[in-house]
C-alpha cells in the first residue's frame, strides 16, 4: 500500500499489551488497525483510542532478523520495520517484514532461504492469476509457482489489515524482466506485490543487522529474480573474444599479401626415371617467413602420386624436406578428390633457396615390395599407363590453420567456461520452479 505524497508523518505512540503487559510502540499510528504483541502474540485492536484485546495468545517471543521498530534506509527512503509474518506453504517457509514510511506507505521485505526481496504492493489488478503468462510493464511474466495454499504461522507487530495466526490463502508467483510478481489469493481478492531483489549486504547495512547471506552462500538454488552473476560476463567475454579473433584474422590477411611467388609445371612419365624437377630459385629477405608450396596434379582415375620437396639454402646447403600426396579416388556414390594440396613450411630464415620436387608414382612403390606391387596393380593399372602432370607454386608467405585453431581455443575456451557457469546457474534456478521435475522427464 502506498501513501500519497504530502501525507503527514505518523506519530509514534507508546502502549502496553493488555495481555502480557509488555510495552510496545506504534510506529504507524493512524494507519495500523491491528497490533500483534511480539512477546505473547496476542491480537490487539487499534481501531479505537483504547486498545482492546481481541484474542490472547501465549506464543514465545522470537528473535527477528530485523527487530520491530528498527529503522533503515533502502534506495534513499527511511523505513521502519513495523510487522513480521511467518508463512509456509507446507514445503517452503519464509518471513515477511512490513516496512512503513509515512510518505511512501508500506513495503514488504521478504526473507527466503536464499536471500531478500523488497516487495511493493500494487493497487491494481495486474492479470488473472490463473494465466500461465502475461505481459507486465513490457516484460513477459511467466508463472513459476502454481497457486498453492499458504498459511500464516505467526504474525507480530502492526498491520493495516486484520491478520491472525492460522490465516490461509493461496499464492502464486511470476517472473520476468528481473522481477517477481506474486499474487495472494484470498477468496475473490487478489493482492499483487512486485518484488525486486535486494542484496543481503544492503539489508545488513541499512538495518544494522548481521549479513544473513544469499545464494550461493545459502539456499539450494537462486531466487527467481536473482541476476545471473555470469550472464553479463558471458556476453562481454564473448564480444571481446570475437573482436580479438577478428583482429588476429586482419593481421594474418595483411601478412598474406607479402612475399613472392614462383611456379613451375612438370609432367611425370611413368616409364622414365627422371622424376625430379626444379621449381625455382628465389631469395627471401628480411625476417623469417613461412613458405607455402601448393601443388595441383592429375594422378589419373583412382590413382595417386607423391611429391617430395627439398628446399635447399644455396649458401649453407641446409635442406628442408616436405611432401605432398596428390590423389583422386572415386566410386559409384563417393569421391575423394585430393588433386590439390598445400604444404606450409614454418619460419624459413632469409636467404636464397632452391626448391626441387621429386614425383613418386605407384610404379615406384611397386618396385619396392611385393605387397606394394599388389596395391599398385589393384589401384592404378589404367592410370599408371599415361603420363601425369603436376604444377607446383611456391610463395614466401602463408597463414597456418593451426594458428587459428589454437587461438580459437585460447580465446573462446574461457568464454565457453563462463557460459557453462551461467547455464549452470540458470539450471539451478529453474530447478526450484514448479514443474521443473516434469521437464526432466
Amino acid at each position: 500500500m502506498n501513501a500519497p505524497a504530502g501525507t503527514p508523518v505518523a506519530a509514534t505512540k507508546a502502549l502496553q499489551c493488555p495481555s502480557c503487559g509488555a510495552p510496545f510502540e506504534l510506529h504507524a499510528a493512524g494507519y495500523s488497525t491491528l497490533h500483534m504483541c511480539q512477546f505473547c502474540g496476542s491480537e490487539i485492536d487499534l481501531t479505537n483510542d483504547d486498545t482492546r484485546l481481541i484474542k490472547q495468545h501465549v506464543d514465545a517471543a522470537k528473535a527477528l532478523f530485523i527487530p520491530l521498530g528498527t529503522k533503515g534506509t533502502l534506495n534513499g527512503v527511511e523505513w521502519v520495520c513495523v510487522g513480521n509474518i511467518d508463512k509456509t506453504d507446507g514445503w517452503d517457509q519464509w518471513e515477511e517484514f512490513l516496512l512503513f514510511n509515512p510518505y511512501h506507505g508500506y513495503r514488504w521485505l521478504i526473507w527466503q532461504a536464499n536471500g531478500w526481496s523488497i516487495g511493493t504492493p500494487i493497487l491494481k489488478q495486474v492479470a488473472n492469476p490463473r494465466e500461465s503468462s502475461f505481459r507486465y510493464e513490457g516484460a513477459r511474466m511467466k508463472r513459476i509457482y502454481d497457486p498453492a495454499e499458504s498459511k500464516i504461522e505467526r504474525a507480530i507487530g502492526e498491520f493495516y489489515w486484520q491478520v491472525k495466526k492460522g490465516d490461509r490463502g493461496k499464492s502464486t508467483s511470476y517472473v520476468g524482466g528481473g522481477k517477481v510478481l506474486s499474487c495472494e489469493i484470498t477468496g475473490d481478492e487478489f493482492n499483487w506485490t512486485l518484488e525486486e531483489i535486494v542484496n543481503s549486504k544492503a539489508i545488513a547495512t541499512a538495518f544494522g543487522i548481521e549479513d544473513t547471506g544469499q545464494y550461493p552462500q545459502i539456499g539450494e538454488y537462486p531466487q527467481p529474480h536473482q541476476p545471473n552473476p555470469h550472464g553479463d560476463g558471458f556476453k562481454t567475454s564473448g564480444l571481446i573474444a570475437a573482436i580479438a579473433f577478428a583482429c588476429a584474422m586482419l593481421v594474418s590477411i595483411f601478412l598474406s599479401f607479402e612475399g613472392e611467388s614462383y611456379s613451375q609445371s612438370f609432367t611425370a612419365n611413368p616409364t622414365g626415371t627422371a622424376r625430379s624437377f626444379d621449381v625455382g630459385t628465389f631469395t627471401m629477405t628480411g625476417r623469417s617467413k613461412p613458405v607455402t608450396i601448393t601443388a595441383r596434379g592429375e594422378p589419373g582415375d583412382n590413382n595417386w602420386m607423391y611429391l617430395e620437396y627439398t628446399l635447399t639454402n644455396t649458401a649453407t646447403d641446409e635442406e628442408i624436406i616436405a611432401s605432398q600426396p596428390i590423389e583422386y579416388y572415386y566410386g559409384r556414390d563417393w569421391k575423394e578428390d585430393d588433386r590439390r594440396g598445400t604444404v606450409k613450411l614454418s619460419s624459413v630464415p632469409a636467404g636464397t633457396y632452391k626448391l626441387t620436387a621429386e614425383v613418386l608414382l605407384p610404379e615406384d612403390e611397386a618396385r619396392g615390395s611385393a605387397g606394394a606391387t599388389q596395391r599398385s596393380t589393384t589401384w592404378g593399372v589404367s592410370g599408371a599407363q599415361r603420363a601425369r602432370s603436376v604444377t607446383v607454386l611456391v610463395t614466401s608467405n602463408g597463414t597456418f590453420n593451426s594458428h587459428f585453431f589454437v587461438l580459437f581455443l585460447a580465446l573462446f575456451g574461457p568464454v565457453i567456461w563462463i557460459g557453462m557457469r551461467a547455464a549452470s546457474f540458470e539450471t539451478a534456478r529453474q530447478s526450484g520452479y514448479d514443474g521443473a521435475d516434469d521437464d526432466d522427464d
Partner: protein, 45 residues
C-alpha cells in the same frame, strides 16, 4: 573481465608475432623424407 582482456591481448600478440615470423609449432603438412607410401588407396570405407 580485466584479466580476460589482458589474456586476449596476450593471445592476439602471440598470434601476430607467430604470423609475422611465419612460425608454427605444428607445421602444416610437413613430413619426413621417404614416407611417400601412404598406402596407395582411398580412405573411403
Amino acid at each position: 573481465m580485466k584479466t580476460f582482456m589482458v589474456w586476449c591481448v596476450l593471445c592476439v600478440g602471440l598470434h601476430s608475432t607467430a604470423s609475422w615470423y611465419g612460425y608454427s609449432p605444428f607445421g602444416d603438412g610437413v613430413q619426413a623424407r621417404n614416407i611417400y607410401s601412404r598406402g596407395g588407396g582411398p580412405n573411403h570405407k
